[in-house]
Amino acid sequence: DVKVTQSSRYLVKRTGEKVFLECVQDMDHENMFWYRQDPGLGLRLIYFSYDVKMKEKGDIPEGYSVSREKKERFSLILESASTNQTSMYLCASSYFGQGDPGELFFGEGSRLTVL
């Protein structure tokens, strides 16, 4: 069974702390994504990566960074957490092939609360 695993389901951090959110996929996908989900706003793309050590900014990259040292692992980093980063964070991986739009496979999410 294909799987995207996010290491932490629930985190509580204090303002100014550095936060790491880890994501691992076992499908050998090239592409990985970090989304943020907030009520009424849907999913917004923070960063994505098409290959190891490559990253691209999404729609809301401010206050975040990412790391992809291995193909299966994609980490989201909050250098100095702020209360407005309290949210649900979703990791995904995807394939995209000739004539097939592919599919995003999502992890179960990491709910972060910043106090």
Binding site: L43, D100, G102
Partner: protein, 115 residues
């Protein structure tokens, strides 16, 4: 630019009743279209996708969706709703150049099922 509108924030239906969730998109060419479902506390799961051919697409869990180019719509339907269908539903659009690698999501419709 791509955009997706899900005009209904919240829908309540009785168990056994039929369901239709609306999705309108904006895109300059023929899009790739997706419906995802998110059960409480979970990540998103693909219900179905449209990329070519028959405009009526069958998905998992008894769902179907119809692509109507003239109306720029991709509405999701189910003839008889089960209590387990209570969840949040997201419509998403992608391009032929990037497929699932670059999806734009709607803000979601929350479905409540009453006995």
């Amino acid at each position: 630019a791509q955009s997706v509108t899900q005009p209904d924030i919240h829908i309540t239906v009785s168990e056994g009743a039929s369901l239709e969730l609306r999705c309108n998109y904006s895109y300059g060419a023929t899009p790739y279209l997706f419906w995802y479902v998110q059960s409480p506390g979970q990540g998103l799961q693909l219900l179905l996708k449209y990329f070519s051919g028959d405009t009526l697409v069958q998905g998992i869990k008894g769902f179907e969706a119809e692509f109507k180019r003239s109306q720029s719509s991709f509405n999701l339907r189910k003839p008889s709703v089960h209590w387990s269908d209570a969840a949040e539903y997201f419509c998403a659009v992608g391009s032929h150049q990037t497929g699932a690698n670059n999806l734009f999501f709607g803000t979601g419709t929350r479905l409540t099922v009453i006995p």
